[in-house]
Amino acid sequence: MQYRTRNIYLIPYAAWIVLFVIAPIVLIAYYSMFDIDGALTLGNYRRFFTPVYMGMAVRSFWYAFLVTMFSLLVAYPTAYLLTKTKHKQLWLLLMIMPSWMNLLLKAYAFIGMFGTYGPVNALLSAVGIGTKQILFTEFSFIFVAVYIFVPFMILPIFNALDELNPSLVAAARDLGASGWHTFRRVVFPLTINGVKSGCRAVFIPALSLFMITRLIAGNRVITLGTAIEQHFLVTQDWGMGSTIAVFLIIAMGLTMVLTGSGEEGRQHVK
C-alpha cells in the first residue's frame, strides 16, 4: 500500500528529474570529455587539478561557507524575532519582497551606495570614521551575497520556529533552564531541519556565484562560477567549463552526504 502511494506522488517529480536533471548531467559529462578542438580527451580533468583551478575551488568553498555562516547569523535572530511580532506573516512577506527586484539593478544601487561619494561613506564621515574603500573589497562581496541569500535562510527557519510548541519553551523555563540553555537544548534542536534546509538553499548556489564577483568585487574574488561562465561564453571551451561543472556537482553531492540528507527528522520521530 505504502509503495503504491509513493509511486503516484513520484511520477511528475521523477519525470522532471529525468528530463531536466539527468539529461543535462549526461550532456555535461559528455562535453567534459572533449577538448577545445572537439577531440576526445581526459585532459580537462588533468587541467582541473592544476594550482590555478584548485586555488579557485578552495576559494569558492571558503566564500560559500562565509556567505552561509553570515546568512545564518543574520537570519536566525531575524526569523526568531519575526515569529514574536504581530502580523508575522505580513512581515515575513515584506522581508522576501526585495528579492523580487532585478539583481542587476540592486547591484547598481549597491555600487552607488558603497561608492566613495555614496550615502554609506557620507554616513561614515559624518560619524567621524572617515571615508573608506568599501566597493571591490571582500567585505562588500560577502555583504551583498548575504543580502541576496538571506531570504532563502529566513523562510525555512521561520517555518520551523513558527511551528515550535510554545509550551515546550515555557516548560523548560519553568524547570529552571536559563534562556541560553533553553535555546541550546530545546529551541535550536527542534528547528535544526529548518536550519539545514536554509543552509542548503544558500551554500549550494553560493558555490557557483559569479555575477557579483565582478559587479561588487571588481573581479577581486574569482570563483568556479566565474570560470565556468568564461569557458562557456568567451573561450567557447565547453569541455573545460563542463569539467568544472562536473566537479561542482560532485562537491554538492558530498556536501549533501556530509550534512546528512534529511535523516534527522525520521530519527526524531522514533
Binding site: Q2, R6, P12, I17, L19, F20, V21, P24, L27, I28, P77, Y80, L82, K84, T85, L90, L93, M95, I96, M97, P98, W100, M101, N102, L104, L105, A109, F110, G112, Y147, V150, P151, F152, P156, N159, D162, E163, N165, V169, G179, F183, N193, K196, S197, A201, I204, S208, I228, E229, G241, A245, I249, A251, M252, M256, S261, G262, E263, R266, V269
Partner: protein, 280 residues
C-alpha cells in the same frame, strides 16, 4: 537573543528595523533616482516624473513586464505543485541511499551555473523540436524552480509524524483524503515558502531565459541586462519602482483581506490541531 525573549519590545524592534532598513536601502536608492531629472544615478539634479511618463509610452516595455509577471506566476505555481509532490515522494522512499540520491539529483540545478542550465536546456528543446518562445521559457522556469520548492517543503514533512498518516488511514481515509486533509494543511507554510522562492528565482533569472527565449518573447531581466552596454536608463528605475509599489499594495491588501476571512472562518481550518499532535 535569549534576552530578547525575556523582554521583547525595544530590542526586537531595533534589530528588525535595522534588517528592514538594509533590505530596503537599495530599493529606496533606485526609487529615489527614478525622480532625478539629471538622467543618471550620479547626482540628483531635480525632481521629475519624466521617466514614469516614458514607461507608459513604451508599449514594448509594458508587454515585456506583463510577460515577466505571467511567467513568474505560472512557473511558481506549477513548480510548487511538482516540488511539493516531489518532496512528499522523497519522504515516502524507504531506502536511505535512494533518498539521498534523489536529494542530490534535486540539487543539481541549484548548484549549476545558469549558463550551463540555459545552454543544456536549449540543446534539449532543440532536440525535442520545441519552438522557442513563451512555452520554452515557462517550461525552463518551472524546471529550475522545482528544487528550491523541494528544499522549502522538506523540513515540514520531516517534522510531520508518520503516525498521523497511519492513524488517518486506519480510520478509513482514502489516499486523496490523506493528502488533502492531513499532509497539505500541515506542510502549507513550506508550500508558500516554496512558492515565494520560486517567484524569486523566476523574476531574477537572466541567463536561462536568454538562451531559451525566442519569437520576440522577452522578460524584464533579459531586457535590463541587454541594455547595460548602452547604460540603463532611469525609465527602468521608474518601472521597477512602480512594480515594487504595486506588489507592496497587493501584499498588504491580500493580507488584510485574508486575516479577516481567517477570523470569520477560523473553525474551518484543519491545519492547527494537526500541528499540536505532531509536536508531541
Amino acid at each position: 537573543m535569549s534576552n530578547n525573549s525575556k523582554k521583547p519590545g525595544a530590542a526586537i524592534a531595533i534589530y528588525l528595523v535595522v534588517v528592514f532598513v538594509i533590505l530596503y536601502a537599495p530599493i529606496l536608492y533606485l526609487a529615489y533616482y527614478s525622480f532625478n531629472s539629471g538622467g543618471s544615478m550620479h547626482s540628483f539634479e531635480g525632481f521629475t516624473l519624466e521617466w514614469y511618463g516614458e514607461v507608459f509610452q513604451d508599449t514594448r516595455l509594458v508587454i515585456i513586464l506583463l510577460n515577466t509577471l505571467a511567467i513568474a506566476l505560472f512557473s511558481a505555481a506549477i513548480s510548487t505543485m511538482i516540488g511539493a509532490l516531489g518532496a512528499i515522494a522523497i519522504t515516502h522512499v524507504k531506502s536511505k541511499q535512494f533518498r539521498s540520491a534523489l536529494l542530490t539529483l534535486n540539487n543539481v540545478l541549484i548548484v549549476s551555473p545558469d549558463v550551463i542550465i540555459g545552454a543544456s536546456f536549449l540543446i534539449l528543446f532543440a532536440a525535442m523540436g520545441l519552438k522557442l518562445g513563451f512555452t520554452s521559457v515557462l517550461v525552463s522556469h518551472i524546471a529550475f524552480s522545482v528544487p528550491i520548492v523541494v528544499l522549502m517543503v522538506l523540513p515540514k514533512l520531516q517534522e510531520m509524524s508518520p503516525t498521523l498518516i497511519y492513524a488517518a488511514r486506519d480510520l478509513g481515509a482514502t489516499r486523496w483524503d490523506v493528502l488533502s486533509r492531513v499532509i497539505v494543511p500541515y506542510i502549507s507554510p513550506g508550500i508558500f515558502a516554496g512558492f515565494f522562492m520560486a517567484l524569486t528565482y523566476s523574476l531574477d533569472d537572466f541567463a536561462v531565459t536568454f538562451f531559451v527565449t525566442g519569437d520576440g518573447f522577452s522578460t524584464l531581466s533579459v531586457e535590463i541586462y541587454s541594455r547595460a552596454r548602452q547604460g540603463i536608463s532611469l525609465t527602468i528605475n521608474a518601472l521597477s519602482t512602480l512594480i515594487f509599489l504595486v506588489t507592496l499594495v497587493l501584499a498588504v491588501g491580500y493580507y488584510a483581506i485574508n486575516t479577516r476571512t481567517i477570523v470569520l472562518g477560523r473553525s474551518a481550518r484543519t491545519g492547527r490541531p494537526a500541528r499540536v499532535e505532531a509536536g508531541e
